[in-house]
């Protein structure tokens, strides 16, 4: 629950109202101007309706230089951010040849595999020379190489399930798997802050979708009871099956899911659990096995475990792990397995090598060091930020920490101030977050050293003072100060 100070809420609404009014004014004058000039559509309806991209044209373009910053080096702890300039007030941005070396607090590089690694990269280059970048074929035709078979075994063993299936993209994994498992007559209950890929997969399946309050097992139980008793809408026939979809770490909140309670509720009401560990696999837990290990949940209780390799393993692709029968069924019917090109073989090799490093099977203890370092770094950074008075979300041990900004003007201000001091941060606003709750999101990596973090804290503190986002006083007694606030979910 985020409590937004009253004054801040009023000023944020006012700022958005002002921006909206100015945007409408400019649209109106543009329409008058266009009325004079000829229309060259010749009977076609316009491809982008005016109101659909109002937000993009009038609000987003003003701060476009804070997003989509190109880099010209590997996404490691320090990264070269390419400079850009604009001649037409940020509508289009052009690259310069110069780039500045910045501390990278934005990439999803939790265990530091995002750049040249002494164990992984030579193996990857070998597999590239042997198998070449792509197989040009789907997994069932000629796209399964020995590396793919080894990868699926490796992933299944790592996650703690009997079998696994791997696809080439994490987003497509959700969109292609959920329609295979459930269709019309089924019910999907998903957390209110689930990722777009889950929402799209659920919509594509044709099942009925209900939402429960973010990370609140009591509300989930209420929804389950109501829905089972009521049955399908209008016909009241019993549901064919119910799948509850939750995520391990929510990427915009940094919170860890309350898995033990949710799993016990689902067992009681005979619903299936689908866990999306996109951000948590490899990043939390003693050996990096994700939220099940951290919270002590038996993996046999979670029916379907899904995850991606982009974040902690420095590669690409997604996986689903489950029972042998489930994986066999998916291999026979999943469209991503039957029609899409298989995952690139060097990327698959990277995942295998990364898992070996994490488990210590490469003969060194780099994996254990990385895991310990990311835990230390996250906890240290979060504690320091909270001491300075920032409003930081997320649980302990989670490497994702959003810092609340709220006001739309503070979004570009914070981002540009930090970039000026050579720290690259990620800021997010509407529509990825609710309108009032804009935030800056820090992702800690195991390759950040203590000095890097201290420098980052200094720069963020300075930027925070300039933009006025230290909503809490820099003292531990935050509870009494929160008066006159309005609660927002």
């Amino acid at each position: 629950m985020i409590t937004i100070p009253y004054l801040t809420a009023v000023s944020t609404y006012f700022s958005y109202g002002l921006l909206f009014a100015f945007g409408q004014l400019r649209d109106y004058s543009r329409r008058i101007f266009d009325w004079w000039s000829t229309n060259n559509l010749h009977g076609y309806a316009p491809i982008c309706l005016a109101h659909e991209d109002f937000y993009i044209r009038r609000l987003y373009h003003r701060i476009q230089d804070c997003f989509g910053r190109p880099i010209s080096s590997a996404p490691d702890a320090w990264v070269d951010v390419v400079e850009r300039f604009s001649n037409d007030n940020n509508k289009t941005l052009k690259r310069r040849t110069k780039s500045t070396r910045c501390l990278n607090l934005g990439s999803y590089n939790y265990l530091g595999f995002g750049s040249y690694d002494e164990y992984c990269t030579p193996l990857v280059i070998d597999s590239l020379k042997k198998f070449s970048p792509s197989t040009c074929s789907s997994r069932v035709d000629a796209g399964t190489t020995s590396v793919h078979a080894e990868l699926e075994e490796c992933v299944a063993k790592y996650v703690g399930k009997p079998a696994a299936i791997v696809t080439g993209m994490g987003y497509a994994t959700n969109s292609a798997i959920i329609p295979v498992l459930i269709g019309k007559g089924g019910l999907i209950i998903s957390d209110s802050l689930n990722h777009t890929s889950i929402v799209n997969g659920a919509r594509g399946s044709g099942a009925t979708i209900r939402v429960f309050q973010h990370n609140t097992p009591a509300h989930l139980e209420r929804v389950l009871k109501e829905q089972i008793a009521e049955g399908q809408p209008r016909t009241h026939r019993p549901w064919k099956k119910i799948i509850v979809v939750v995520e391990g770490i929510y990427s915009m909140e940094g919170e860890i899911c309350q898995l033990p309670e949710i799993v016990s509720i689902c067992k009681k009401y005979k619903a299936y659990v689908y866990l999306d560990e996109a951000h948590s696999i490899g990043a939390i837990g003693k050996t990096g096995r994700g939220v099940c290990e951290l919270l002590g949940v038996d993996t046999a209780d979670v029916d379907i475990m899904m995850g991606t390799f982009t974040k902690s393993f420095g590669s690409c692709g997604g996986y689903i792990a489950g029972s042998k029968d489930l994986i066999q069924y998916l291999k026979y019917h999943c469209p991503a397995h039957l029609y899409a090109t298989s995952i690139s073989t060097p990327s698959a090799q990277q995942i295998i090598s990364a898992i070996k490093v994490i488990l210590g099977e490469d003969g060194s203890n780099r994996g254990a060091q990385k895991l310990a370092r990311i835990r230390e770094n996250s906890n240290f950074f979060r504690a320091e930020l909270q001491k300075m008075g920032f409003e930081v979300l997320g649980d302990n041990d989670s490497p994702v920490m959003p810092i609340m900004l709220y006001n739309p003007a503070k979004i570009p201000a914070f981002s540009r101030e930090c970039l000026r001091e050579n720290v690259a941060v990620v800021v997010v606003g509407f529509p990825a977050t609710p309108l009032l709750l804009a935030r800056a999101r820090i992702c800690i990596s195991a390759s950040h050293s203590r000095e890097d973090l201290i420098k980052a804290l200094q720069v963020i503190s300075k930027a925070g003072d300039l933009t006025g986002i230290k909503y809490f006083p820099a003292a531990p007694k935050k509870q009494e100060e929160v008066k006159d606030t309005i609660k927002l979910d």
């Binding site: 190109p70 198998f131 070449s132 970048p133 040009c136 035709d141 799209n200 008793a229 029609y339 090109t341």
Partner: protein
Amino acid sequence: MDTNLVEMCRAGLKWFTMLLDAPSARIVLFGVRIQGHIFVEVLLGFVIVFLLSQKSYKPPQRPLTEQEIDELCDEWVPEPLIPPITQDMRHEPPVLESAAGPHTTVDGKDVVNFASANYLGLIGHQKLLESCTSALEKYGVGSCGPRGFYGTIDVHIDCETRISKFLGTPDTILYSYGLSTMFSTIPCFCKRGDIIVADEGVHWGIQNGLQLSRSTIIYFKHNDMDSLRSTLEKIMTKNKRSKNLRRYIVAEAVYQNSGQIAPLDEIVKLKEKYRFRVILDESNSLGVLGRSGRGLAEHHGVPIEKIDVVTAAMGHALATEGGFCTGNARIIDYQRLSSSGYVFSASLPPYLASAAITAIDVIDQNPELLVKMKQNIALLWKGLKDIKGMSLASDPESPIVFLKLEKSSGSTKDDLLLLEKMADRALKEDSLLVVSSKKSFLDKCRLPVGIKLFVSAGHSDSDLIKASESLKRLASELLL
């Protein structure tokens, strides 16, 4: 006794009539003499009004009690998550032990590979491997972020510029997965209420995009221009409102499910007559059709500006992964913020983007690869012309050679099993790797199934002859 009762009744009646006929009998209201019966009628009127104003009878609402809800929850038995596994679901695909070039190794044996869409033979090309190696050493494998959050690497921007230059379009946007290109692009431009006319043979990615867009979808017969014309005619005349809606025609350049080539010049003529926009999927025609490999537009001599949106997956002729969409600047700019597969997903690994740039350079500099591939297709057609039990259903110029079953057994499942057996025997007995059609239950395409061969410029003449001999033998054994 009787007389007492009668007396009482008579007295009561007399009293009653006296009451009625008493003073009111002398009142004259509005020229009407008020008599006793008026009172009865007024009373009846009140009764009628009272009855009409009563609400109709509803059975009382009785929401379920907690105990009843608990009982229902205990009684409910869900279906199992997956139906029971049958024997045909346990079929294992062949596992390759070397690169998927024209010749590959399966189970230690050398096998001729017609199952990879490696049309120009770029798998294993030296220049591609060199550029990938240098990209891997510089950037690592993954890009660790979506395009909006430091996942944009300069190779992505270079790749987009190179593709735009190659195809002659203003701008390009790069996607990280071939299949997601179509199902992210279509929902961007088509919303509820818009009209889409699509070919019935489009592949699953496009079908999923159409379903996610929630627009009105009308299918026309596979690659049949008369059917398309009549469909467009019907839409534009019957539906008056359709003039203000966005209208699209969706087609593939070379259909993955049948190997046919779309007649783009006729589609463009129809589109201009009825004012539709065209979305074209050029996955299997990029680098293959046209004099210099620029795709279907060059093949038919149509200027590329007439096609509004062109998408393609790069996992075919370009021997890399990912996909792209190209068109005019407004369309591409809009996708950078509204296309869900671009915004909410990590970007393409940088070494694959640099592989794409090198592949396009190789295509530009080596036009003889296209000539060789076209010769190979012609040779394979000659060899398979008189195969028994199957017929060539694809276009003579398409790199996907599709042999459809002439006589179907009636059930698609049995056909698929038969084709699978044929492909397995081809692999085991003749060391030939071909593709038998596979269908997911989510795929709505109902085109005939068969055996597919992907012809590559790297195949030698002996490979092609071996393939045709082997398939002819197996067809005569298994299908007759």
